[in-house]
Homo-oligomer: 349 residues x 2
Amino acid sequence: MSEPIRILLVGTGQMGSAIARIVLEKPGLALVGAFGRRRERAGVELGQAIGAGRDLGLHVRSDLDATIALTRPHVAIQATCSRLADAVPEISALVRHHIHVISIAEEMAYPAATSPHTAAVLRRLAVEHGVTIVGTGINPGFVLDLLVITLTGVCADVRSIRAERINDLSPYGPSVLTSQGVGLTPTAFRAGVERGTVVGHIGFQQSIRMIGDALGWEIERIDENRDPIISRVRRQTPIVTVEPGAVAGCLHTAVAYRATKPVITLVHPQQIHPQLEGIETGDSIAIDGTPPVRLSGRPEIPGGLATAALAVNLIPRVLAAAPGLHSMVDLPVPGAMLSDPRRCVSTHR
Amino acid sequence: MSEPIRILLVGTGQMGSAIARIVLEKPGLALVGAFGRRRERAGVELGQAIGAGRDLGLHVRSDLDATIALTRPHVAIQATCSRLADAVPEISALVRHHIHVISIAEEMAYPAATSPHTAAVLRRLAVEHGVTIVGTGINPGFVLDLLVITLTGVCADVRSIRAERINDLSPYGPSVLTSQGVGLTPTAFRAGVERGTVVGHIGFQQSIRMIGDALGWEIERIDENRDPIISRVRRQTPIVTVEPGAVAGCLHTAVAYRATKPVITLVHPQQIHPQLEGIETGDSIAIDGTPPVRLSGRPEIPGGLATAALAVNLIPRVLAAAPGLHSMVDLPVPGAMLSDPRRCVSTHR
């Protein structure tokens, strides 16, 4: 058996911890260290930090360069942030040390969507250092883009695409709930959208650009809309209580236009306890094409666990990829990695 | 605008014709010629042969080497046969002329499934001549393998997989209906299975090996079963009439075992007019994993049109691929090609 692939965890929050727990279960992978941004996390035993249920003999560190020098990882998985600008400094440091980077930052799913310049810089940096950078996640990265593009593959022509993801925010922590305006009055929600504190979903720009580029559609405009989901019943999580008349979440939609026609419609209502008003969660894709294609699943693919799994399952694809900046659309799809990463490949190779 | 990609049609039957009609609609592609195996097809005007509704100023030819010399194609799409041994001579001839090959022969979806030796020979030949060989189709190649593998990507673990495709054979011609035993008595059906004239679905071995290799599962045994679908009502197509008590199709299933446990179950009942007995056609995938994933669509993705579209939509991926033998699992997914093939790519490139 060859040496295990050495994995560095970058970010020890809820998502980073979920990723690390999966890494620990995988043959052929070794979790060699963890970087955390918050200084007060430094020195915490890693098994404790990620809820592994046992000590790992490793500690969270808050100096990235020192962590890299100490742990000599092959692959880093970044789970520290959502925005491109925020993700890039850590990614650049890792790449300069010839470490592959898998990021779950939403805007890293398709960096060119928010900054073609940054995408070009990252691509050059990755090529120069012989490594792969790729962004992933359930959304953006999977349900509303990769899966959509995959399904269009059976179409001789496509007129328009509609994809919807209805999910349940109840398991999420305060930062996610705040970003969706959960618990606000409808007036405060609208003010929050104006001010930019109610963000809704981060990822429509990335998903739409991914679809457009894969199909060869020039998208001329994307209209986004954020509406409050006003609860008719009392909804409660450990973090927040929503009374009737208050906001249970954000109905965020995006419509992309090509030659003045709406061609891609993405709908993503996110709220706590949708089932309390009889709303079934689920993922659905409808392609108006030749032939038409419809696929759906209930309940929705759970976002947190799926994102963590995707990040780990990408490891074999990243190890086999040409150096550069990639997206979920220009690598072979990552299947579940159920064996040593070097064995999860086609036998053509 | 750069020169169009020159496409050679290999096979002018029902599938080849559908492929050629799609090629004609695509910007950036030029249909430059067609090879047909049957000598009596030679000289037929190509537009007539494929039902294009207009003359193309080209004729079907039955000498492959001469057709290649005359048409100088970049990519050939093969739609002449189902079996590997039958497909390989044409593919080899094309590759020796440095032509990329996209084949819809079922066994070409994953050549290693029936012959690791032939797969290795094809791979070497493709690498030596700097071109790509890839097999595709709705099944094998998409519903019961690529889509399954894609969905496992969101799983931290997978215990078992069940996928089912219920389709309608009514649009198909006599050779397909015969291979499924449509119109036979149940006794004749069973005798046909014994003799090998009732084949059922060609593709389970390929789909299962594709899934197993992508996930890193060592499959130790595949059990296949072919049962007659005995009609309770009269079912009729332009080709065949099935009286009550006779066979309307073949219920073909395959179960793959790993460490003595059934881990992949593929179910594919194929029959004419299933709706006459209240059976809804459709595709469904259920993954017993962490998290569980279920996705389904009704009616089924229509096989003929989808296979033709997949073959054409693969062109951008084939042009960008490293030389060699590939499968749908080790290339980036082909989205619908709605623009010049060189424009249907990620903007990272």
